[in-house]
């Protein structure tokens, strides 16, 4: 009697524990199979406080002269940009032609120099350069001190 009972308890416990573990594993598999939640892009969701009607700006309506001026300005802008674009394309075209001519002459000169010139320049890319600013850098300028606290929300999938 003393020996038989503890043995049964162990078996039942082991089997029950096994059944519990299997159920947990099945639940985990189901959760993993479900598609991961999409991270919300905070820029695309307008907060509700900005759609209040009290926030709408009240300005006098546009006069017809103003609308006409705007339309004419847009047409002038269109033409200006078109000319600018054409000039750029022409400049690039002339540069390419000049390069092709140079390579042709080089080929006439010597084949090995030509092959050396055609080879790809590995050190050229990635090419990085800081763009121009409105005013040149001020010599000896001490920017004011400040602390920047980053409050961006980080989402994990």
């Amino acid at each position: 009697p003393c020996r038989a009972q503890p043995k049964k308890k162990k078996k039942v416990d082991v089997r029950r524990e096994q059944a519990q573990k299997d159920r947990m594993k099945k639940k985990l598999k189901k959760l993993e199979k479900a598609a991961p939640e999409l991270i919300p892009i905070e820029d695309f969701i307008t907060p509700l406080k900005y759609s209040d009607s009290s926030r709408v700006r009240s300005l006098p309506p546009l006069s017809p002269e103003e609308t006409e001026r705007r339309v004419l300005l847009l047409k002038k802008w269109c033409l200006f940009k078109q000319k600018q674009d054409e000039a750029e394309k022409k400049a690039i075209q002339s540069l390419v032609e000049s390069q092709q001519e140079a390579l042709k002459e080089l080929r006439l000169e010597s084949e090995e120099l030509f092959q050396a010139a055609i080879r790809r320049d590995e050190g050229l890319f990635p090419f990085q350069r800081d763009g121009p600013t409105y005013t040149p850098p001020l010599a000896g300028y001490d920017p004011p001190e400040g602390k920047c606290v980053d409050v961006t929300k980080v989402y994990t999938q």
Binding site: Y50, S54, R55, V56, R57, L59, R70, L73, K76, W77, F80, A91, I92, S94, L95, E97, S98, Q99, E101, A102, L103, E105, L106, E109, S110, L113, A116, A117, I118, R119, R120, D121, L124, F127, R129, P132, T133, Y134, T135, P136, P137, L138, A139
Partner: protein
Amino acid sequence: RPWRLFGAMCLLRLPRITQPLEKEEEEMAALMGQIELEKSHYSDHEIRKLEEEERLKRRKESLYDDEDDATGKTVIMAQDLEDKWEQKFLQFKAAPRITDDDKKNIRTSLNRKLDSNLMLLVKQKIGNQELWLLPQVEWQPGETLRSTAERAMATFLGDHIQAKILGNAPYGIYKYKFPRAIRTEDNVGAKVFFFKAFLQSNDFTQTELKADYLWVTKNELGDYLKPEYLKKVNRFLLD
């Protein structure tokens, strides 16, 4: 082969400030600002300003001043904040866009015409003439044309120049025949291959070996270069 080969380097200093806007661009920018203002809603700061103006008006119109004076605390108005910011902005003095070197037209300094590309020109002796040219050096067998151009740069500016050469291929070519006196069977003329590079290092102690050098923009090239040479060089300069 009857042609002598030269490698020349066109060293460009890229612009440091933005070019001034054209008339159409300025008008368009103003129009865009106006349209943006019309289509926008009020911001928190503007709402605060409007409410405070309302309160001020009511206080002036009403005969008796009630809560605001009783509490006695000074409220910072949005208008005061704006004035304070405006003052702070006016106190800041930015560096001038047109430098001293621009006004005196010192063409040997790098600090002029900050909004356009500057190119290096040197005075070299070709045959028996002293000419203004892009720095060039004769090609020696056993090196590529790109290393010739690098050598040209190094002879005129020293070894410590950091320049990014744009590719192995030449950008342009200038062919000329020697005058009949010097021409022989083997030596009909010369071909000058141009390479382009961007100057990376900002200031460098200009250890010039041969004295005369200039940094010029594309428009000023015409003052110094010969017409045929200028025509070939202008083809591969974008500006």
